[in-house]
Symmetry: none
Subunit: 228 residues, 2 copies
């Protein structure tokens, strides 16, 4: 689960943060001072850090510097919290590598919006690449699929199933695994539904014999493989 780590000493604010962050479906962790934070951060390895610029022990810049120089944490986005009137800190903040800032007092909605925006920006599942197996090519950048150099027209679900299977060609996935990865967990869908989508996928990839690469492993599932 996506984890937000807050470094903030003001109790009332911590409660507010915790409530809103949890309500938005994130995991919440926190420290009330800089040294504690530096210890915990290493283990926690959160997805985003909320950093109060005014801490009881050390300056926010120091925490920032620590994060940026740490191998595991260096790419973790940081949002700094500053009080009204501390705008001159913004420059040093950005220079130290903060990604965004928000001025106290702030609305929870705004904070959540900024958190989500930053997470979006730093998430890397939008990488472009070309997966290929046999005569099938799948371009995640343009969402196009080619089968023996002809474009295959797939529905969104079929596309995602194929993308999933192509990440590990040859490997057998159970219907449940396919469901979890393509539909998402806790979704109520019959197993038979998968068969239907597999059918559609096969149909779309049937230009030539070499394109028929979805193998049924009876009582186990499906895989991308030569049918042999």
């Amino acid at each position: 689960m996506t984890t937000i780590f807050s470094i903030e000493d003001e109790e009332a604010l911590v409660s507010l943060l915790e409530y809103n962050i949890k309500a938005s479906g994130f995991k919440f962790e926190h420290s009330t001072n800089g040294y504690d934070a530096m210890m915990k951060l290493q283990k926690s390895n959160p997805d985003l850090i909320l950093l109060d610029w005014m801490l009881p022990d050390i300056a926010g810049t120091e925490v920032c510097k620590f994060v940026r120089s740490n191998k595991d944490l260096k790419n973790t986005p940081i949002i700094m919290l500053t009080a009204k009137g501390e705008e001159q800190d913004l420059l040093s903040g950005f220079e130290m590598g903060c990604d965004d800032y928000i001025t106290k007092p702030f609305s929870p909605a705004e904070l959540i919006a900024r958190i989500k925006a930053l997470l979006r920006r730093s998430s890397d599942d939008s990488r472009e690449m070309i997966l290929s197996y046999g005569n099938i090519k799948l371009d995640t950048g343009s969402h196009r699929v080619y089968c023996c150099d002809e474009e295959a027209k797939l529905g969104p679900r079929e596309y995602r199933i194929l993308e999933f299977l192509m990440k590990n060609p040859g490997r057998v996935y159970s219907r449940q695994q396919i469901l979890d990865n393509v539909w998402g967990t806790n979704v109520y869908v019959t197993d038979r539904t998968i068969d239907v989508h597999i059918r559609r996928l096969r149909k779309a990839l049937s230009n030539t014999e070499e394109c028929k690469v979805i193998r049924t492993i009876r009582s186990s599932g499906y895989s991308l493989d030569t049918n042999s």
Copy 2:
């Protein structure tokens, strides 16, 4: 040539600025008071403005407000010059849309460094170039779009969407990505709004069949691509 416009009344400082700015290869222009500056800025249309916060006639905020509300100047970066001890001005400065500040006295090296940093940042957006894809050409200098050699009339938003899509032809962007990049992060706009703009964009680019290059990827987003 890149032009730096200074608004500063202290003669000694003007000489210092002029010398260093010219030595760094920029063109130097200046005014010694706010009203004069507002008149000259319009014609000069500089690449960056150095604004002393304490002017003999009007407050720096007023000049700032003027620049930001002027069609041609609104994107010009502003560095404000403040005297030590005027830190409280920074708040209003940033609120008015200043991009950076520097406290007097400052080292010429630091000033030049900040100028260059700001120019770099703003040049990414304002570099003039002609993007082209298929029969569509987009001139970022004149903000004109040609579709099969005829000019297409686009609204500002449509223009920016097209410009964004043209930076990576073929690549699929989700509505959220389009929002982040065209509207900016943490903006509350419905997804449907994008569809409407896409509709207008398509309408404007429909001279011929070859001009219809916005592809819908159901449940994923849009891309600039042949529809095949």
